[in-house]
Amino acid sequence: MYQIVKSEKLNANIYLMVVKAPRVAKHCLPGQFLIVKMDEEGERIPLTICDYDREAETITIVFQPVGASTEAMTALKAGDCFMDVVGPLGNPSELVTDDLEETKKKKILFVAGGVGTAPVYPQVKWLHEHGIDADVIVGAKTKDLIILEKEMEAVAGNLYITTDDGSYGRSGMVTKVIEDLVAEGKQYDVCVSIGPMIMMKFCCLTTKKFNIPTIVSMNPIMVDGTGMCGACRLSVGDEIKFACVDGPEFDGHLVNFDEAMKRQQMYKTQEGRALLKLREGDTHHGGCGHCGGDK
């Protein structure tokens, strides 16, 4: 059993939990994920690791309920346990495994959307601790949905917050901020974009215009997460890749997002699709194959 030592509701629909998982906490690096399973009958749910404390032997997860299983997870309180936690899975971010001196020469831009702010945080924090200050764009639908602002401010070079409705920070989508920053004369050697697939898709279309190599973190459907089932396969360029063992980070300019978004809908019931449309709201531009937004 893996005990939850802290459980916090960050806003209307995003939850943070700190969980005791010694083997994961000892070995994980930014960019990797883990799988949690609530109880005997539960699903195996992959979640990106958002922070870790090697001494306290804990890891932090941040999630947004998107279906029955994650909805059920929101009821867990400090002191409760997950039956299973396994990880770290997948590969660490290239930024933390590449030669540090080379990375130091790069101007790095992070683009985070919604709950994707959480997995961006450990990467920015790791870079900050290694003397690299990266620029970070955080986007959300509205002011109340911005998470980890203070934490991010403490580790980012420049932090640009934007809301779709203009209720906080800049106004408009993250892609607009990228265009504005470039127009202001900012130059970037690499961009890391993590958020809803639709956001990553449009972020990649924008960075491609400016020839900024872009890394995305994919979160497709998984079952075992160890390279056994192939549920998480994606088309990356001409190749089929498994997000669990080959990823989760890939060259965003090569990922087939339309296919990935369709695959993500595979087990959604009508109700679940409605929930997703509600959650993604105006940022949902189709691609799910059901809402008609892409016709």
Binding site: G87, V223, D224, G227, M228, A231, L234, K262, R263, G289
Partner: protein, 460 residues
């Protein structure tokens, strides 16, 4: 009684079982087992034993069954096998022990597998457990993977007095016995869980949710956690796909995914993990895993077609599995190969385009090579396609362990007789070494490695 023929065994009626996940074969009663045991000739030079990868003393245990001394029979089997209830159900006996049985020359071979199963089930019912070692050696051995290779290796080492810990990546012990082979062929609670308990009764510890190479490395196990030897029995790996158009459409699954959702995650019991059961399912492939996937889809309510590029004679699956699949209503489209998966506007499978094949000259495997018949393409309607084409090795352990050699196919290189790898103190066996094979071959490798580890640690 006709001594040339086996004592018949009762099975669930094909029509009934096609709608449930209960076990197909119901097993012998005591009287039936004793009667079948009476057919054994008790050969002086028993060929059956040489056909068994773990060398069970077959005539000796059958003799005890004949005498109704079932506990003694269990003891004899346990000397060689840690998983008799599993092997009695899933071993390809017809090409191993039973294939060499002298009875089989003129009539039907003694039903060795069914007798083994009877003895194991009798022991479980009567709560007979294997005995732990009386003397401990105070040496720690790590076993990676709790499938047939790992459980066998761990069981044998524990019997010798080693302090054994199994590390399992999934949340439940059993490996392919749990995620791969379906309930109707190998019941999970009644059989697999009991066999795992028996291995634990020998003193083996099992730590689940540890993925070696990520949660901890082999080097750390040896340098920091005090393990003096390691056995790698991590199993087969990543599912293969064909590389044809449409393969990433919604509704296309690897057999591993389909079976894992159903078996490990228990979708059929309506646990939280969903499964796309399908109404018209095409399973591509002809091995035991393809049969398992097809018969699972059937039980979930689908019309099921097996598409296989060679003819019936070349089907790699066991004859019994093919026979059961046919009885239950699986339709076989042989000498047929997919060329494209047809996808609807919403990204879901709507059919599969296939081409007729004919058999040409024998290929490297000795089987006649299937050749496309030009112009014979046609379309088959389907909403689900399950690819059962085998696996390729998972690179996780080889890429994170210093000095561990892999071959061109990325399988771990290990000596056949003792499992020794290129790295000192590290042994390996099962699918991680051979590529996808059978439960009993993995057990044989686990057994050989246990002996190899014992010899290595005694010299050390």
């Amino acid at each position: 009684m006709d001594m040339m023929k086996r004592v018949p065994i009762s099975e669930q009626d094909a029509k009934v079982r096609a709608t449930n996940f209960e076990e197909v074969c119901l097993g012998y009663t005591e009287d039936e087992a004793v009667e079948e045991a009476g057919r054994c000739l008790n050969c002086k030079n028993p060929m059956c034993v040489s056909g068994c990868p773990v060398s069970i003393n077959i005539p000796a245990f059958i003799e005890q069954v004949k005498n109704r001394n079932f506990e003694k029979a269990y003891e004899i089997i346990s000397e060689s096998s840690s998983l008799p209830a599993v092997c009695g159900r899933v071993c390809p006996q017809e090409s191993q022990c039973e294939g060499k049985c002298i009875r089989g020359v003129k009539g039907e071979a003694v039903a060795i597998g069914k007798l083994e199963r009877f003895v194991a089930d009798w022991a479980a019912k009567n709560n007979v457990k294997p005995q732990p070692a009386k003397e401990k050696l105070g040496k720690k051995v790590a076993v990676i993977g709790s499938g047939p290779a790992g459980l066998t290796c761990a069981g044998d080492l524990a019997k010798l007095g080693y302090d054994v810990t199994i590390f399992e990546a999934l949340h439940e012990a059993g490996g392919v016995l749990v995620y791969g082979i379906p309930e109707f062929r190998l019941p999970k609670e009644k059989v697999v869980a009991k066999e795992v308990e028996n291995v634990k009764a020998l003193g083996v510890k099992i730590e689940t949710n540890v993925i070696i190479g990520k949660s901890v490395t082999i080097d750390e196990l040896m340098e920091e956690e005090g393990f003096e030897a390691v056995f790698i029995g991590s199993g087969a790996g990543l599912p293969r796909f064909m590389g044809i158009p449409g393969e990433n459409a919604n509704g296309v699954f690897s057999a591993n995914e389909y079976l894992t959702r159903n078996n490990l995650m228990k979708a059929f019991k309506e646990y939280a993990t969903p499964i796309h059961a399908g109404k018209k399912v095409v399973v591509v492939g002809g091995g035991n895993v393809a049969m398992d996937a097809a018969r699972t889809a059937l039980r979930l309510g689908a019309e099921v077609h097996i598409v296989y590029r060679r003819s019936e004679a070349e089907l790699p699956a066991r004859v019994e599995e093919v026979h059961h699949a046919k009885e239950e209503g699986v339709i076989f489209n042989l000498l047929t190969n997919p060329t494209e998966i047809l996808v609807n506007e919403e990204g879901w499978v709507k059919g599969i385009r296939v081409i007729k094949m004919e058999l040409g000259e024998p290929d490297a495997s000795g089987r006649r090579r299937p050749v496309e018949v030009p112009g014979s393409e046609f379309e088959v309607e389907a909403d689900t396609v399950i690819m059962s084409l085998g696996t390729s090795p998972n690179p996780l352990i080889t890429s994170t362990t210093k000095g561990l050699e892999a071959n061109k196919k990325k399988c771990i290189v290990a000596e056949e007789e003792n499992g020794q790898t290129s790295k000192e103190g590290v042994f390996a066996g099962g699918d991680a070494v051979t590529g996808a094979a059978t439960v009993i071959l993995a057990m044989g490798a686990g057994k050989a490695a246990a002996k190899g580890i014992h010899e290595y640690l005694m010299k050390k």
